[in-house]
């Protein structure tokens, strides 16, 4: 009987942050937790995936139900007094495989397509391997899940679509400048949306200057974000030295005019200038966009891009789901072939032994007169006939992807030919491969 894969856990959709915090496992605790899980009575293999949005245990056991009960108990023991059970979800067998594949491919994430989850699952995999809690079932499933995630990232644009005004600003800046690190961002005013976009740019390594009508406010923002504060009057002096301008003031007129930008561009010697006007009414004269190497986007442009990105991501999503389906089918196929292998080997060995005994009997009796060459010919003929005879049953066993069907077929074959019960007498457990081997790469 092959082991069954199970997933038990909670995530941002099923549990409040307070509970997720109580059950959180820090990265350096993953190995210890996996080790503890392996010690549960019905858990044979275990791995813990813990992020700020989810805590999940991937496990394998001989009896899925008992394995799930053990894990639910484990969760309950870690958050005494809390109603953990209500927040937990569970998946067994094929549903668990699908869940693992979707999580690794970032299809189950809060922000679909975010790239961190794959690294976090790989980190969990390494911790489980180091804890010795990884077995063949989890190892095979995870290897294939990593391959699926890799395909999803390389064959779709699921990770490239942008979904907020701030990330659109970063995306646009990257398409204009390439690298944002060390680029200088000028924040004019301190509107909420402009601040969010500024933070997103600073995360990419940009440096910050702020001008504000109220110098104290500029100082506060500069202190909070690590930038330089200037009075609003310095705006024109700063323009030649910055690359991105985020404008969001309450002014009722244009703060940045075409003439100001033209003068700045002379001093910039043609270097690109990217302006984002998030204010309503607008703070930057739209004619600025006519100046060479100056690129102006207003809030409508950004929101249009957000809508387009969400639409693009929708198309990529269905493509990503198709890839996951394909990889799951391939995984199930490989798994079926792998688990039918002992019966196939026993069947072939049984026939080969019978044929060999008959050949030797004949060579000692009626075919005694045959020379070496003729004996080899007879041997080859018998082997060829055997291969042809065994082709159909071997193919049928390999093609049975459903576990029940495979076991039924194996039982019939074993009964008909009096073979040892290969499925009930598993080979000694092989240690998990050191790393997933879907493409010969270390998962890190």
């Amino acid at each position: 009987m092959s082991r069954s894969l199970v997933v038990v856990g909670l995530n941002h959709r099923t549990a409040p942050v307070e509970l997720r915090e109580r059950l959180a496992v820090p990265p350096d605790g993953l190995e210890q937790t996996a080790h503890e899980l392996k010690g549960l009575p019905h858990v044979r293999e275990a791995m813990v995936v813990a992020t700020c949005n989810r805590v999940e245990i991937y496990a394998a056991g001989d009896e899925a139900g008992a394995c799930v009960r053990d894990i639910r108990g484990f969760f309950a023991a870690r958050a005494p007094g809390a109603d953990v059970s209500e927040c937990l979800y569970e998946h067994r067998g094929p549903a668990a495989v699908r869940h693992v594949f979707r999580v690794a491919s970032s299809l189950d994430s809060m922000v679909v397509g975010e790239p961190q989850i794959l690294g976090q699952v790989k980190e969990a995999f390494h911790a489980a391997r180091d804890a010795g809690s990884l077995g063949p079932e989890l190892s095979r499933a995870l290897s294939r899940a990593f391959a699926a995630a890799k395909r999803v990232r390389s064959e779709t644009q699921i990770g490239t679509g942008t979904v907020s005004v701030a990330s659109v600003a970063v995306d646009l800046a990257q398409q204009i400048f390439g690298e944002i690190a060390m680029r200088r961002v000028l924040l004019v005013g301190a509107g909420k949306m402009a601040l969010m976009a500024t933070r997103a740019l600073l995360k990419k390594g940009a440096r910050l200057s702020i001008v504000n009508r109220h110098y104290e406010r500029a100082l506060d923002v500069a202190k909070a974000h690590g930038g330089e504060a200037h009075p609003l009057e310095s705006l024109e002096l700063l323009l030649p030295h910055v690359d991105v301008v985020l404008c969001s003031t309450g002014a009722q007129r244009f703060v940045i005019t075409k003439e100001i930008v033209q003068r700045a561009m002379k001093a910039r010697r043609g270097r690109s200038l990217f302006l984002i006007d998030i204010a309503v009414p607008r703070n930057i004269d739209p004619r600025v966009n006519d100046v060479d190497s100056v690129y102006l986007f207003d809030v409508d442009d950004l929101e249009r891009e957000v809508a387009r990105a969400i639409e693009t991501r929708g198309g990529s999503l269905s493509m990503a789901e198709r890839i996951v389906d394909e990889e799951i089918r391939a995984f199930e196929r490989d798994r079926a072939v792998g688990s039918a292998a002992p019966t196939i080997a026993a069947l072939r060995e049984h026939f080969r032994r019978l044929a060999q005994a008959e050949i030797e009997k004949s060579f000692a009796g009626k075919l005694k007169h045959l020379g070496e060459g003729d004996r080899s010919l007879v041997q080859a003929m018998v082997e060829s006939a055997l291969n042809k005879l065994l082709h159909a049953p071997t193919t049928a066993l390999r093609a049975s992807t459903e576990q029940g069907e495979r076991e039924a077929l194996s039982t019939v074959v074993q009964a008909l030919f009096q073979l040892p019960n290969a499925l009930r007498e598993p080979a000694p457990e092989k240690p998990a491969p050191a790393t997933p081997t879907e493409d010969g790469e270390d998962p890190s």
């Binding site: 002379k266 690129y295 249009r304």
Partner: protein, 265 residues
């Protein structure tokens, strides 16, 4: 052996078509990822192209200095190799292959034109051809970058941020590469024009300089102008890209003039 040379020629041409078409289908939206086909086909095409040129030289004695036709084949090879080198450093410029592949293909196909062979004219002539080919190849890659820049700049200026915008490289990357290729190409082109002038004066003492050389000098002036205006007056981006394309168009006129003269005689 000539069959082998023909097969190599055809295979390289097919691979260049495949490389260009693959990048173009990605740009036009048929695929979400460029995949490895485009640059792999160009790389394999360049290898077969190089073997083709080497065999033609060693077996038939046709060197890049034997006439305008073999020189064009070498020019195509140089363009492809330069682009692949640049792409290995900046992967984002892969899509510029859509402009490079047709230029390489045209140069390869034009090398089969029945132009007359040029008699050996000494080392200065070889230096003229070699440096001109290096210069023109570098400036052609610069033109491919400039064309890609203009395409991307159009997307950004018109705020059309669809698939093409995300598939094209960043504007600054393209602008920097255009400048670098022009800066690298100009010394080679200068050497080509100067040695060409000396060789031309020697060959045409009675009739004066051939008019193709005036075209070549115009090309040189345009590219030097693009470079100086950028360095001294901050002509970057759109203006620099347009200047580079004008220079490239002028260099194509020079080549066409030489091809026409070679075919006529």
């Amino acid at each position: 052996m000539s069959i082998a040379i023909d097969i190599l020629f055809l295979a390289a041409a097919v691979l260049y078509v495949l490389g260009g078409a693959s990048t173009l289908t990605f740009l036009l939206g048929a695929r979400e990822s460029p995949g490895p086909l485009g640059s792999s086909a160009l790389l394999l095409g360049a290898i077969l192209h190089a073997v083709h040129d080497a065999l033609r030289w060693s077996v038939n004695g046709v060197s890049p200095w034997s006439g305008i036709a073999p020189a064009l084949s070498t020019l195509g090879l140089f363009i492809c190799v330069l682009f692949l080198l640049a792409r290995s450093v900046r992967r984002t410029i892969e899509v510029a292959g859509a402009f490079v592949a047709p230029a390489v293909l045209v140069a390869l196909l034009a090398s089969r034109a029945h132009a007359r062979a040029v008699p050996a004219r000494g080392p200065l002539f070889s230096v003229h051809i070699s440096s001109s080919l290096v210069g023109l190849a570098t400036l052609t890659v610069a033109a491919a970058m400039a064309a890609t820049y203009l395409l991307q700049e159009r997307q950004v200026k018109s705020r059309r941020l669809g698939g093409l915008f995300h598939k094209l490289p960043p504007l600054d990357t393209l602008d920097t590469l255009t400048f670098r290729f022009v800066a690298i190409g100009i010394p080679a082109l200068t050497l080509g024009v100067v040695t060409g002038h000396v060789v031309g004066v020697g060959l045409n003492r009675a009739r004066g300089l051939p008019w193709q050389q005036y075209f070549a000098m115009t090309t040189w002036v345009i590219f030097v102008g693009v470079l100086l205006l950028r360095l001294l007056a901050g002509w970057r981006g759109r203006r620099a890209a347009i200047g580079t394309l004008v220079g490239f168009a002028s260099s194509v006129m020079v080549l066409l003039a030489y091809v026409a003269r070679g075919v006529r005689s």
